[in-house]
């Protein structure tokens, strides 16, 4: 029910408002039990710490049960005016308290270590999953939401585990011990006290189903909020340019209000667990007292047993109360864990293949390739193309004709629907994905640089490269001088979009690709923001670098591709013309048309 509501809510939109964000991300209801079991699984590899912790908890529980007994002994001896025995009792007490404190210390220490180890591993596992997710998944999900799972959701788990693990242990231990003692003393009365347990379970069940949907909703909304901030801060320049701040703020506020509402409901429900449990405990206590009295009158049990029972009934209440106090926290953690596991359960990118292409010549063949991003909307139809080794091949065509798609497929970012792509006659599906990518360098339309030094950004493609090689690559891509002009040269840290123009960023990405010394180089509109003279210099430098290497260049600017060995003209996912510049001009087809509009058409 709750899920259904959520779904209809996230598809709700006002006319003129921004649409629903992450509409693919309606959370599926996942069984809480399974999630908890899986969470417990994370502890199984820390078996030693867990066992030690259990042992310590036992010790602490024993000490805290024994200490009151000693106290009453001490008071008894005071009442009996037996002051000689007192010092001995007090010294024992001191020892027990010492053990208890030491135990508490070890307990919080071990649970801290345990929880942080588990959290560390969980984050690493999650990150491992994220970097190994198919590109498709990342492309179609809100980045901020994925980030929120990493920080907020995992942190909730961390807090819960570190704060409530030992309470949970000792609580369960106490309950079991008490129940055992009660059953031993008087089974019928013990069964009666189980009404408390039943009531507790019923209340928990009632509250928790309502609670869980609110907690889940809260985490989803927090993820959405993260998404808004991430997207708007990343695209801040556009937000400012269009004075969209108010609208963006309004959207943020809307999510924020929803989050607040969900949070208030979740927390109120979570917070009522304590008082409700208190009531149940006391009802249980009254029941025991009443029936105990009745049994006593009828001589079923002795007075001593009743008084013991009453002590136990009180003891029974404490751990249940404690667990109730942290129940909300546990729910948050479970909701968070669900979201974390949801990503972990996404199928990973298929990286299978065992062939290597270290000695490949670089013959690329596309055979009857069909591909669609969305089912039913084919982007490439029966695409056939052979690129000879060492050739410089260019793809041209109107925007949206499928050029970038070819790159996505060659890099195995997306999988083809049918047909095959071969390198030196080997299907790329059979080539080890890692090896394939190591031997192929790409420069993309949207440049990606990391908030790190220029040096580390360039060496990203080949860590072990020497500074000399790096500078060489930078010179080839015409950015060496530009880098030297930066405040700290190669050690300047790139932060944000800031002071570097798109063209300069492209030059850096090209240098990075050059440094990789790949078998196959792909430039996808890599110089679109670079001026033509600089581009020309880069191309001249490339000639030597790409000797005996295959390069694939995508560009609109014909000057970028004129001297390619082979030009492929694409239109709507099909190849319509091929040949070199002169041949294509002679054909007077589409390429000729393009050429005319770009150059001579208007008789410059």
């Amino acid at each position: 029910m709750a899920e259904k509501k959520e779904q209809s809510m996230s598809n709700y939109r006002l006319p003129g408002m921004r649409g629903p964000r992450n509409r693919q991300e309606v959370e599926k209801p996942i069984e809480g039990k399974k999630t908890i079991l899986r969470l417990v699984g994370y502890f199984s590899s820390e078996r030693n710490v867990v066992l030690f912790l259990l042992l310590v908890v036992c010790l602490v529980v024993l000490a805290s049960v024994y200490a009151p007994k000693l106290q009453s002994n001490a008071i008894d001896s005071i009442s009996a005016m037996d002051f000689d025995g007192l010092p001995k009792i007090l010294i024992t007490m001191l020892a027990v308290y010492g053990i208890q404190s030491l135990g508490t210390f070890l307990q919080s220490r071990e649970s801290a270590i345990l929880s942080q180890r588990v959290v560390k591993r969980m984050r690493e596992d999650l990150f491992d999953c994220v970097v190994n997710l198919p590109v498709k998944y990342i492309d179609s999900h809100s980045h901020g939401d994925i980030m929120s799972r990493m920080t907020n959701d995992v942190e909730n788990i961390s807090n819960t585990v570190s704060q409530s693990l030992s309470s949970l242990f000792s609580g369960v231990l106490t309950v079991f011990g008490t129940v055992a003692m009660m059953l031993y003393l008087c089974p019928p009365l013990a069964l009666l006290s189980c009404t408390t347990v039943l009531l507790t379970l019923a209340a928990t069940k009632m509250l928790s189903s309502a609670m869980r949907s609110f907690y889940r909703k809260r985490q989803v909304l927090l993820g959405r909020l993260n998404g808004t901030v991430e997207e708007m801060v990343t695209g801040y320049k556009t937000v400012v340019a269009y004075e969209r701040q108010e609208a963006v703020i309004e959207e943020f506020n809307k999510t924020s209000e929803e989050l607040t509402k969900a949070g208030i409901f979740a927390e109120i429900l979570g917070g009522s667990m304590g008082p409700v449990m208190n009531v149940i405990n006391n009802v249980g206590f009254v029941i025991i007292a009443a029936f105990g009295g009745y049994f006593a009158v009828n001589h079923v049990i002795s007075i001593g047993v009743i008084s013991a029972f009453i002590v136990y009934a009180k003891q029974f209440g404490r751990p249940i109360d404690e667990i109730a106090q942290i129940y909300g926290q546990i729910q948050t953690a479970v909701a968070g864990a669900e979201r974390v596991f949801a990503i972990m359960d996404e199928p990973r990118e298929d990286k299978s293949g065992d062939q290597v292409m270290d000695n490949a010549k670089g013959v690329i063949t596309f055979k009857d390739v069909r591909f669609s991003y969305l089912p039913g909307q084919e982007v490439l139809h029966d695409f056939n193309l052979e690129v000879r080794a060492g050739h410089k091949i260019a793809l041209v065509g109107a925007t949206g004709s499928g050029k970038t798609t070819v790159v996505n497929l060659l890099m195995r970012f997306y999988d083809i629907d049918s047909g095959e792509i071969l390198i030196d006659g080997v299907n790329i599906k059979d080539i080890d994905c890692k090896n394939l990518r190591e031997n192929t360098a790409i420069v993309l339309q949207d440049t990606v640089l990391f908030a790190d030094t220029v040096r580390n950004n360039l060496k990203y493609s080949r860590q072990e490269a020497e500074d000399r090689e790096m500078e060489e690559a930078a010179k080839m891509s015409n950015c060496h001088d530009m880098i030297l002009r930066l405040k700290d040269g190669y050690d300047t840290v790139l932060a944000g979009e800031g002071y570097m123009s798109q063209g300069q960023r492209q030059l850096l990405s090209i240098a990075r690709a050059f440094l990789a010394q790949p078998k196959i180089l792909i430039l996808d509109e890599a110089t679109s923001s670079v001026d033509t003279r600089t581009e020309k210099r880069i191309q001249d430098a490339m000639v030597k670098l790409m000797e005996n290497r295959t390069s694939l260049i995508i560009a609109h600017r014909l000057s970028t591709i004129q001297d390619a060995d082979f030009i492929v003209v694409m239109e709507q996912g099909r190849i319509i013309e091929t040949g070199n510049h002169e041949e294509l001009l002679k054909q007077q087809g589409k390429y000729y048309e393009l050429y005319m509009t770009q150059f001579s058409g208007k008789a410059i």
Partner: protein, 574 residues
Amino acid sequence: MLKYLKKYWVYFLLAPLFMVGEVSMDLLQPRLMAVIVDEGVLGLSHGGAGDLGLVIRTGFQMVGLVLFGCFCGIMSGVFANLCSQKYGNDIRKDAFRKVMSFSLEQTDRFSTGSLITRVTNDITQVQNLLSQCIRGFVRTFLLFAGGILCMLTLNLSFGMVVACALPLILICVVFFIAKANPMFGILQEKLDKVNNVMQENVSGIRVVKAYVKEEYEKERFGAANGELVGTQLDVLLLFSYMTPIMNIILNVSVIAVIKVGALQVGNGTVTPGDVMAAVTYISQILNAVMRMTMIFQTVSRGVASGKRIKEVLVCEPSIQGGSFEGETKEKGKVEFKNVSFSYPGMGTEKVLDTINLTIHPGETFGILGSTGCGKSSLVNLIPRFYDVTEGSVLVDDVDVRDYTLNALRKKVAAALQKSEIFSASIRENIAWGDEAASEERIRQAASLAQAAEFIDSKAEGMDTWVTQGGHSLSGGQKQRLAIARAVLKNAEILIFDDTTSALDLKTEAALYEALRKEYAGVTKIIIAQRIASVKDADRIAVIENGRIMACGSHEELMENSGIYRDIYDSQLKR
């Protein structure tokens, strides 16, 4: 940040009040329990004869009392949550509003990851702080103070013990808080780092994969995560000393009370019952103290987070508008007067050097120049993405710094180099600059930007959903959406910062043709790489190393400017 509480003072007062109710019920309940046990069941004063009727009567009384306590507890929770979450909500909204008023350079300085943490996680910490303060702290303090008070009323000699123990506890608390406080600040910083690494990886996933850097990134993330977890562990370990130390202090007090009690009982000044009561109160105080340590953790963390939020809240936008509302006679005139510019924090390296230039209303003005020569920086100064270092920029004869930001940016529509696409429908992406735009105008803008055709070819047309970063669109399609967005804005000055680079020339030519026809009166500033993109412009400026080297029509430049001819040659002659 206290002022945010003002609005919720009723909740802020009601929550502790109800808490007092709950705690009082908690304190009363043991007495009734004692009556039930001692009189009802055990029948202590009737020689062992229990009284079932009394048990049931008192039982009902107790359940009633507890129900009332339950009601108070829930109400206290309701008000505490209303207060803290609404408080957090207000701060969150204000913090985000502040972020949205920052200049570009300021958002870069904070970094995306850190801003996200501050607006989400840090706020949660502050919320927790507040709700802990009004509920947990009040409850614990009541139990603590009640316990001490009751003990003092028992016998003053027990008070001596308390008087000795309390300062020790106080010292202990102060010591741990002083130690923990800076650690929580560090903790949030480490969280920023994790967020940043995560963000880079998610948005740069293609590059990570293309260079097979998964393992490297895992290591980088592992390091950031390791630091975060390490700091968290340090905090937890620090607090793991706190509870046992406090325990010891209080437990020794218990022993001292018994010892003192024994002496007093010997003297006949107190009864054994009093000693028992004193011990019970001390355990109550002990419980309170244990809870207090948990609360201190939340509070310290909340305080550290509060500081970070405050940094955002007090940070004044470095670019602020003037007071001029933008009513001018001229419409669409841009003038650069002795403009020099270097990026904040990047030293004295001049990106623009003494630029003097006037662009007239209705003019189509082209800008050419090599990568990094300062083309984008020049147009960035017009809508005040950055401010000049020297000189001034005038729009319609008024200094841009005199306009209100809103008025200035209304006059300027810029399609940026990086065509930012937001996760929304195509329609919403185009109407980004004018939410109220009619369907007709959106269509018009789309067809002018030559985007209508590809939009119509999509199954859902204008309603087609595009994902963040527009990965479902090609580069040229993204640019055309960005152009449509700019055109729709109906501004006096239209800036295309290299936004036609991914368009084929035919499309580009059609676009400029349409612009010339329908936006004749609008000043058009076009940065481009291709001569063909700008050759029909009224004037073209050639920029090199931050200076205007030449300015004139295509024909004039072909005649007079070596650089221009050079660029021309690089694009044509083979």
